[in-house]
């Protein structure tokens, strides 16, 4: 196992959340990188949800997830990929298309976005395919406090 592989798996083990069997290795790795992004926020008291979304995305394409958020909670969404430099994007909009993400942090294998929902309701979480030629895997998790 590469040093990078050791590191990402270690983070997922540390956080006690790792995809179970049945997923391909790259998606597991993507999830591990999402957890790497999550680590400082979990230490800061965010509760991570056990559920996550995963898949593959082509450059320039977008995946849209409708998600219920509650005003009064602070959220972090963590998007990981096993593809170095894939430059995936992660943005959150309200039902009228107005951006509600207030902070974005970018790593080599992940992007994290903080949200303060202005109202309780349904929001659109948009995962954007980045650069390059190939389809890449992604895994998205979130936490709240």
């Amino acid at each position: 196992m590469s040093w990078r592989g050791v590191r990402v798996v270690s983070c997922a083990v540390l956080l006690g959340t790792m995809p179970s069997g049945g997923l391909n290795a790259s998606v597991e790795e993507a999830y591990s990188f999402a957890m790497e992004a999550a680590e400082p926020h979990l230490k800061a008291g965010f509760n991570i949800r056990g559920e996550s979304w995963d898949g593959q995305i082509k450059p320039g394409k977008r995946k849209i997830i409708k998600h219920q958020l509650f005003r009064g909670n602070e959220y972090w969404f963590w998007l990981g990929t096993s593809a170095a430099g894939a430059k995936l994007s992660l943005k959150i909009y309200d039902r009228k298309g107005r951006p509600v993400h207030v902070e974005t942090v970018v790593g080599e294998y992940w992007v994290a976005t903080r949200v303060l929902a202005p109202r309780t309701g349904t929001y659109l979480v948009v995962v954007g395919g980045g650069e390059g030629d190939a389809e890449v895997d992604w895994s998205l998790a979130y936490g709240y406090r």
């Binding site: 083990v13 992004a37 009064g72 039902r95 709240y144």
Partner: protein, 286 residues
């Protein structure tokens, strides 16, 4: 393509590998969101069907921030339940998990233990004992230690593990039933707490029409045998009433609607657990 993932507990290596995790890439902290509005009428993208249902803890945490503290009175008293089939047990499993979140809010160790044991009992009835035992033990251990964050985490994982196990058996209706049971019980408690000291801010938390429509659609797609289970009929009827009480996405939920939502949810929980007659009446379990 999108699919759910599972979870594993932290192993004995967790402490030893902590230092490795500290070598995470350094991010660009504090980057302001530079984006303008999204034109939804001209926005090509693939919608992902999978809806992740909020756990009760997500709402209850906000109510706590707003000063609510009377959680002990929301803990369900032990009662003889009547469950007759897999749908009944799946719905009850969701309720038991929600009861665990309520017990955490109340910081009541005995209630956490009670919820944990019921989770295990219902999971066993569903043939999921092997999948969830480790989570249930972790719930009991964390509750005993007063590690409330740990209990929350394990409750979430329990529900996820159970739903995944059902999905692996191609029984998404049962997996949805777990979410339904948890959502109804969580909404019962949230609406109870809000109705006792109503404010529009608190009531806004109950404005979840899209989630209710998602549940209604899911029930509509279930196998006829499941859909016509009297308890599922009661849930579906309740959802229909709830969505009209919630009003529109941007409309406030009035106080009388909160009271009514509470009565509806309380009735459905009683129906699911068999402490009340199902509205649909008669019939056996699946």
């Amino acid at each position: 393509m999108c699919y759910p993932t599972g979870s594993r507990r932290a192993g004995p290596l967790a402490g030893a590998v902590a230092a490795l995790c500290l070598s995470a890439p350094v991010g660009v902290a504090g980057e302001a969101a530079p984006d303008g509005p999204l034109d939804l009428a001209d926005f090509p993208g693939e919608y992902i069907d999978e809806v992740i249902v909020p756990v009760p803890g997500e709402i209850l945490a906000i109510l706590e921030k707003l000063g609510e503290s009377g959680w002990k009175s929301e803990i369900r008293k032990p009662a003889r339940v009547s469950l007759r089939g897999r749908v009944d047990y799946a719905l009850a499993l969701g309720i038991a998990v929600a009861d665990g979140f309520i017990a955490v809010q109340a910081q009541d160790k005995a209630a956490v233990e009670s919820a944990g044991r019921r989770v295990l009992q219902y999971a066993e009835a569903l043939g999921l004992r092997q999948s969830v035992t480790r989570h249930c033990q972790a719930i009991l251990d964390a509750g005993d230690a007063g590690d409330w964050a740990g209990v929350r985490r394990e409750l979430d994982r329990t529900e996820k593990t159970a739903r995944e196990a059902m999905a692996r058996m191609d029984d998404w209706a049962l997996a949805t039933s777990v979410s339904l049971g948890g959502w109804v019980r969580g909404t019962e408690v949230a609406s109870s707490v809000i109705s006792k000291a109503f404010t529009a801010d608190k009531a806004e938390l109950l404005n979840q029409p899209d989630l209710v429509k998602h549940f209604s659609n899911s029930i509509g797609k279930m196998d006829e045998k499941v859909r016509e289970n009297p308890k599922m009929v009661a849930v579906a009827t309740a959802l229909g009433s709830m969505v009209s009480l919630m009003g529109g996405e941007d409309e406030p939920v009035p106080s009388d609607a909160v009271v009514e939502m509470n009565e509806i949810c309380r009735g459905v929980v009683a129906t699911i657990l068999g402490t009340a007659e199902p509205a649909g009446g008669g019939g056996g379990g699946r």
